[in-house]
């Protein structure tokens, strides 16, 4: 058994190692080392916890057993999961953190002696507040992440679910939680504690169902943030520095990512939360489409010809590319182009995937070197000096309307200046609008050649024609 002071120092060390883990992510070179720091930090925290309890009764066997079971499941998932499914995986993991926080809070409420929080029925006031806040945020994280998971997985429709009085209901429940916590502190009643947990589960569901598929990158980041605050809440209850530091890190990390995502879509955080974006107004669209504007369409041969005669090509990938699993074919195409001394780069919009940085991972998986991949602000000026832009699976993020039409729902959103290229190749199945439900003006430009096909098939055909 080690003293409380010594274990506090060790928890501080593991907190610092977690900071270094995040710090490592500032560049791919240092990132792997960063991940090891994180692992070491976790091992230290777990060992110190065992040592500080020191009471090795039979239950320790069960603890280790459950640790191994969970670890095995986690490892299996980590190795099996395809990179395209990363958003669901992260949402799923968030839900586990949330639920674990709820369970720890419940355990602390039922057996406060074990945590030095006083006696059952007479828990210290501060601890009671901390644990009920931790439990509430944890429960919201859990059920919200489950809904996000179901939506991303496609088990639940991505379209927003709204009903009248929704916001009023959420507000009432939110205030209700605080009122109940107040009474919990007065009465120490277990029933009130359970009610807080149950209402929080409900709030999590209600909070996420009105948010549409297009806003999923924000939702995932937001839930990431919540899981951090939940951990911090529990950290205060347990008086554990490692948990407090980590919770604060994760909470602010998720908040920053949400901010970046909102900015990339030019949406205020508040309007994302209120939801309803991406609701189907496609009925109007279909009527409009009757007066078809002229579109130039081509085939793989035309595309191959255009690119072969270019000196620089910028690839603009979007989520559609990942859905079609076209990234490997794309990489093959780029290899061929590079052999012909054509300069090829990739341009990535912050919301190109379903979660922050998703597209970068998918390209990395297809062996695209990360120094050929550029973020929007770094590459946007290059479009004007490039010959061909190859848009594959992206749509709204290239729509020039965002710059020109103040009435458009995406007006003000930063977009890739694809139209400034000499010619634009646009791989798409049809002229259907993207997530935002609006027509892309780019389809009808003179310098745009539409390639109507499945992204993977079209890319493979282009590869053949490049020989």
């Amino acid at each position: 058994m080690i003293s409380a002071n010594l274990s506090a120092i060790f928890y501080l060390v593991s907190g610092i190692l977690f900071i270094l883990a995040l710090r490592g992510l500032s560049s791919p070179d240092t990132s792997r080392k960063g991940n090891y720091f994180g692992i070491v930090g976790m091992i230290i925290a777990i060992i110190v916890t065992f040592l500080s309890i020191g009471n090795f009764s039979t239950s320790i066997i069960y603890v280790i057993m459950f640790l191994v079971i969970g670890g095995a499941i986690g490892a299996l998932i980590a190795f099996k999961i395809p990179m395209t499914a990363m958003p669901e995986l992260v949402a799923g993991f968030h839900s586990l953190v949330g639920l674990a926080a709820v369970f720890v809070a419940i355990a602390a409420f039922l057996n406060p002696e074990a945590f030095n929080l006083g006696n059952a029925g007479a828990i210290k006031l501060a601890s009671l507040i901390e644990m009920s806040i931790g439990a509430a945020i944890g429960a919201i994280t859990f059920s919200g992440s489950i809904i996000a998971f179901l939506k991303l997985r496609g088990i639940m429709s991505g379209s927003p679910i709204t009903f009248s009085g929704q916001h009023f209901l959420n507000l009432t429940l939110g205030i209700g939680i605080f009122v109940l916590i107040f009474y919990l502190c007065k009465t120490q009643s277990a029933n009130i504690f359970w009610t807080v947990v149950i209402i929080s589960f409900l709030v999590g569901v209600l909070l996420i169902i009105p948010i549409g598929g297009a806003d999923m990158p924000v939702v995932i980041s937001m839930l990431n943030s919540y899981s951090g605050w939940a951990a911090a809440g529990i950290g205060f209850t347990l008086e554990n520095t490692a948990l407090i530091i980590t919770g604060a890190l994760v909470g602010s990390s998720g908040a920053i990512l949400s901010y970046i995502m909102c900015k990339a879509m030019n949406r205020s955080f508040f309007s994302v939360i209120l939801g309803g974006f991406g609701a189907d107004n496609s009925t109007d669209d279909k009527k409009e489409k009757k007066d078809q504007k002229p579109v130039k369409s081509g085939n793989a041969e035309d595309a191959a010809f255009l690119m072969k005669n270019a000196s620089s090509v910028i690839i603009v990938p979007g989520y559609g590319m990942a859905v079609a699993q076209a990234q490997h074919a794309l990489r093959e195409m780029v290899d061929k182009l590079k052999k012909n001394d054509i300069k090829v780069t990739y341009a990535i919009h912050p919301v190109a995937g379903r979660m922050p940085g998703h597209m970068n991972v998918l390209l990395a998986e297809a062996n695209v070197p990360y120094d050929e991949v550029f973020e929007l602000e770094d590459i946007n000026n290059d479009f004007a000096n490039s010959d061909v832009a190859f848009v594959i699976g992206a749509n709204d993020v290239t729509n020039p309307v965002a710059k020109t039409d103040p009435k458009s729902p995406i007006f003000g959103m930063p977009v890739l200046d694809v139209e400034k290229c000499k010619s634009v190749l646009f791989v798409k199945r049809s002229l259907s609008p993207g997530y935002a439900g609006i027509d892309n003006e780019l389809f009808y430009r003179d310098n745009t050649l539409m390639l109507f096909a499945d992204a993977k098939k079209m890319t493979e055909d282009i590869v053949k024609n490049l020989d």
């Binding site: 009764s57 674990a100 602390a108 980590t246 070197p369």
Partner: protein, 103 residues
């Protein structure tokens, strides 16, 4: 007058938010997905609380109700720790630099 230990923890918390703010802004956007998976893994340090809850009590009562919640939380957090770190590792292995330009 003595300062409540809560104030110290609050100070750590608030300073950590600031550290998090500056550290996360310096994360390159291309690593935002690994950032999320690794934050997932580290926030599972909540397993510390789960272990305390699971080991509480005497050896006759290994499966008290509060112990059971502790055990369940251990499984959940362990899934996250192993899954989170390993999937992050898997992603980071894929990030490669350009090979020597041309032969």
């Amino acid at each position: 007058m003595e300062i409540d230990p809560f104030i110290f923890r609050l100070s750590i918390f608030i300073l950590s938010i600031f550290i998090g703010y500056y550290v996360v802004w310096s994360v390159t956007p291309s690593l935002h997905t690994p950032l999320m998976s690794v934050t997932n893994a580290i926030s599972s340090v909540i397993i510390v609380g789960a272990i305390i809850a699971a080991l509480a009590g005497s050896s006759e009562s290994v499966f008290d109700i509060s112990n059971i919640f502790g055990f369940a939380a251990i499984v959940l957090a362990a899934i996250n720790i192993f899954g989170g770190f390993l999937v992050t590792q898997r992603m980071l292995q894929m990030y490669k630099k350009k090979k020597n330009k041309k032969k």
